[in-house]
Subunit: 260 residues, 3 copies
């Protein structure tokens, strides 16, 4: 991917528009293991970007669903023993089928058990780990900086997508900063979980996880900015971001992108 502006492989907004077009054309199946708080909004965000979500958490069914999916999201919110067994099977099935998966270690700073399990799963080659600064600190034992993120990504052969006022996508060698988004995104529950699911949808059609993650964060951030211009509060914001994501086009991405 080329984001330095010379355009030889296209800029991130162009690439993101192309990824969105591929998602809409191919309607990839994205299986989402996520908490019950987030399931409905996540499914609607995945539909809005043009992919097909499935959400079962059943131990008995998860392998069938992952085998017939194009990408997997593993979000740790509202944890329980059956969910843990489900995640283990899902991650193994994804590995066997060479399907990309995203780990979203929600709230590991609030639960020691969750932190231990997140650490284990982070070592099982997720294509992308999407988290915030507090979660990275618990997962890695270090404060997030370009260097610590790159070292972690290198050690675990993964990509880190760090959310914040400016999002940062890092692998061992590359680094992309995305300055899009709006503070109102933090006032809607499951917004982060849903963006992780959009990352999985992008991975379903784009093999480079740095590109897929950066595209997902750009799409979500731009949709959030459009939504903030139309919304009167967090209720209407959660509605119009779905409309904005569904109506996202290359011109809007190009016009609004803040990529470094």
């Amino acid at each position: 991917m080329q984001t330095s502006g010379d355009g030889s492989f296209g800029t991130l907004p162009q690439i993101a528009a192309d990824i969105a077009a591929r998602i809409r054309a191919n309607r990839p199946a994205v299986h989402c293991i996520t908490n019950t708080v987030a399931q409905n909004f996540t499914a609607n965000m995945v539909l809005a970007i043009g992919a097909t979500p499935s959400m079962t958490l059943s131990v008995d069914e998860i392998a069938s669903f992952v085998v017939s999916s194009d990408a997997l999201l593993v979000n740790l919110g509202t944890f329980d023993p059956e969910r843990r067994a489900t995640i283990d099977i899902a991650v193994s099935t994804a590995a066997e089928g060479h399907k990309p998966w995203v780990l979203d270690p929600v709230f590991i700073e609030r639960s020691p058990l969750r932190a231990v399990l997140a650490h284990d799963w982070a070592g099982r080659k997720p294509a992308v780990i999407r988290l915030n600064r507090a979660e990275f600190r618990v997962l890695s034992g270090k404060d997030a900086s370009p260097e610590t993120l790159a070292a972690y990504a290198d050690k675990y052969a993964t990509v880190i997508a760090l959310s914040g006022a400016t999002d940062l996508v890092v692998d061992a060698k590359r680094r992309i900063m995305i300055g899009n988004g709006h503070p109102m995104m933090a006032q809607v529950t499951a917004m982060g979980c849903a963006i992780s699911a959009i990352t999985a949808a992008c991975l379903a059609v784009e093999s480079d996880p740095v590109t897929a993650s950066a595209a997902a964060l750009l799409m979500a951030g731009v949709a959030g900015e459009i939504a903030a211009e139309q919304a009167h509060g967090p209720g209407s914001f959660a509605v119009v971001i779905l409309d904005a994501l569904s109506n996202l086009d290359a011109a809007g991405l190009q016009h609004r992108a803040k990529v470094m």
Copy 2:
């Protein structure tokens, strides 16, 4: 019911308006066993049509809830062992109490286990089975046609409500086609599940399952068309379909109905 146009027993739009009025007057209790993705939207759709939803999935409580309900929805999404036991008790309790129930065998084409269980439950006399073509193929082993649907309905003493661009309601002898609806309905998660719950609400006040199913599909399809005229994308569509369903009146049903 009379849908041939001579009006002797009323046309489907008139009957649907009457059923909606009975639901609003009697506020029947509809117990919904449905997946956690669909629960909130389903409950709000049931409330919008004027009925009272309950949603518990607990093995220990399901019998109490079904006994005090007027109709039951059994949706197979996001399956787990406890849910299966809950469904078994719910279906038995409904049978003992002569309460109508709707089977919605979601995603059985993605899970062999789910297909086996759906086949078993389909034989336990649901008033209506609501499904799409892929699900019918797995359930019956045949492609959906008016003949295969009628044969299946006859064999299992049930009514098939097949969703699609045109919905089809079939029992052993009767057939109604409903051409209402909008493609945006497929972009909102749980829309199908919620329409199955509305079917259960109609069954709570209308003893003929062909009439109840056709009325439910007409109400939902017309509400979807009204919503599509006001919505700017799938987010606002999911909001305004609730408004439209709540405000549905006889004139709107009559004016928009495409029934054959």
Copy 3:
């Protein structure tokens, strides 16, 4: 608290505005044990008032989450064995940490098991029990009146917040009536559950449970009235009440309050 109008300690609208400001400034953590139907809307209502929700139901994690929370909601909807164990741990942990908690005994009139357990938990010193008339009748064996409510509150050292056309907040000695709200609030699923969560958010920053409960009911009722003026049905109502709650200010509370 002073609600008799002499203003010596401020009137309820002033106090409610102050509580809302404290919530927005301190962003208290509110852990919500609630049914899966209600989780998403409840989390968004808690965010809209300015607090930080968490929603895990896991037996293994609940103690960690309650320890790091400022208040707890225990809602009995969609019950199951694991949820019961989770509630037991949560209530014990809250007691040890002197954290206020709200009991919302949803649907106990539909399930004898739930009624038995609700009775037990009501005896474990919730700061507030929020329920409707049917639920109070099952819990106390008596019809709700100012006298029976006060007697119950006295016996169990709690505060009763009775919902209805006029809400009533009662402890052994005090009584506040709040006439705000709108009938459309009953057409949105989980509205009551969410208001109980807002009560928990108020308890996180206000130590007097009568004041906290009355403030929560006033905030929710006023937000509901504002939403009803803008909504076209229950779908848009559920959206704009979130906007209204987020934008609630002292002038709106003062202008609209119906407190006796």
